[in-house]
């Protein structure tokens, strides 16, 4: 399993989030993960349920990428996104799933290095944790 490319889902806002990803890809930045990006109008649109569903449907890790806080296209959308991520992390901990499978990131459209960095962080986490499946220590 450790050799398979981890499955990662990223919810990106269509402003700075997606623009920073596009810039990284156009600039030929390399990243080692299978990342499925879902564009949302704003990370304030990301619901906890979207994140849980992505995990339920087989993602090993999920990230949400929004504008920098205080520089959000929709003013406070990325703050909302962060709060939802935090709540889902609490729920995951309560059911014994590693909360670090879900992370919030922020970028401005010019941060070309950000997306490869996120892909690598999330893929390392996913490889370390493996898929959500029975572990030896659970009943």
């Amino acid at each position: 399993m450790a050799d398979a490319k981890p499955k990662i889902v990223g919810f990106c806002c269509e402003k700075h989030g997606t623009e920073s990803v596009d810039l990284a890809i156009r600039s030929g930045e390399q990243y080692d993960a299978s990342v499925r990006l879902v564009t949302v109008p704003c990370t304030g649109r990301v619901d906890g349920l979207h994140i849980l569903k992505a995990l339920e449907d087989g993602a090993d890790a999920v990230f949400v990428l929004g504008c920098l806080e205080k520089n959000c296209y929709y003013d406070t959308g990325s703050i909302e996104g962060r709060k939802r991520v935090e709540y889902v992390r609490t729920m995951l901990s309560e059911v014994g799933i590693e909360p670090e499978r879900v992370e919030m990131f922020n970028a401005s459209s010019t941060m070309v290095w950000k997306f490869p960095e996120i892909a690598s962080t999330m893929s390392q986490t996913a490889r370390r944790l493996g898929p959500i499946e029975p572990r030896g220590d659970t009943k």
Partner: protein, 234 residues
């Protein structure tokens, strides 16, 4: 409104662990407004329990649905099939909904997904505060519209106590002193003389202390003839 909070997911998981078919039922009324047991919360709970089961390697059929009002039999009746098919009902409404289902289907096991907490009001997004204890004999016309039973830690009828300090309550300095608030409100209304009014001990038999309360409105009840006619028309 009734304000409730979701129980920790671990506690919920333990309650439903012995059962294969779980029907998770939310409510679109108070508990949806306080973000505890509406449609979104039911779906998130079903999803989180699905992940827990994946991690623990078990299969459990989790069926999530939401009623308009879980405390009214008519709405519950609409999902009777799904209730009867399940091994356990996980109620995501306040305890009134859970008990309505339990009383309608006494052979079914109903477990509470929420802790029903207070009669409260939304103060701001994400904050609800208690404002009434349902004493059954309201006196807030004498206290500037502020309930001393619910909002004073000692439920004092003639306050403040000696511990009121800078508008805060001695029992917990993070709480507002209800009697300070009453004084300020009465001052604003030019009715400070009400502070001198002596409120005699309350008749607590109108509260829960007098035993379980049932409110009957005779003019609203159906006669036996009307009940029969209603049953026949269904």
């Amino acid at each position: 409104m009734i304000v409730a909070e979701r129980k920790p997911l671990g506690e919920i998981a333990e309650m439903i662990a012995p059962y294969e078919k779980v029907c998770v039922i939310g409510c679109r009324s108070c508990v949806a407004i306080c973000l505890a047991g509406g449609e979104k919360e039911v779906n998130m709970l079903v999803s989180a329990m699905g992940l827990l089961n994946r991690r623990t390697g078990r299969t459990q059929n989790l069926d999530g649905l939401v009623l308009e009002r879980q405390c009214e039999k008519e709405w519950v009746k609409e999902v009777e099939d799904r209730i009867l098919e399940s091994d356990v009902i996980l109620s995501m409404s306040c305890s009134l909904g859970a008990q309505t289902i339990g009383d309608m289907y006494p052979e079914k096991i109903v477990v509470p997904g929420l802790n029903t907490a207070i009669f409260g009001v939304p103060e701001e997004q994400g904050v609800w505060s208690e404002k009434c204890l349902g004493c059954g004999d309201c006196i807030i016309h004498t206290t500037g519209g502020i309930c001393p039973i619910a909002r004073c830690a000692k439920s004092m009828l003639n306050g403040p106590c000696g511990g009121s300090s800078d508008g805060h309550c001695e029992v917990n300095l993070e709480l507002d002193c209800a009697w300070y608030a009453i004084h300020e409100r009465l001052k604003l209304q030019g009715r400070l003389e009400l502070m001198d009014m002596v409120r005699p001990p309350k008749e607590w038999n109108t509260s829960h202390s007098g035993g379980r309360r049932v409110i009957v409105r005779e003019e609203a009840r159906l006669t036996s003839h009307q009940k029969r006619a209603t049953e026949e028309s269904q």
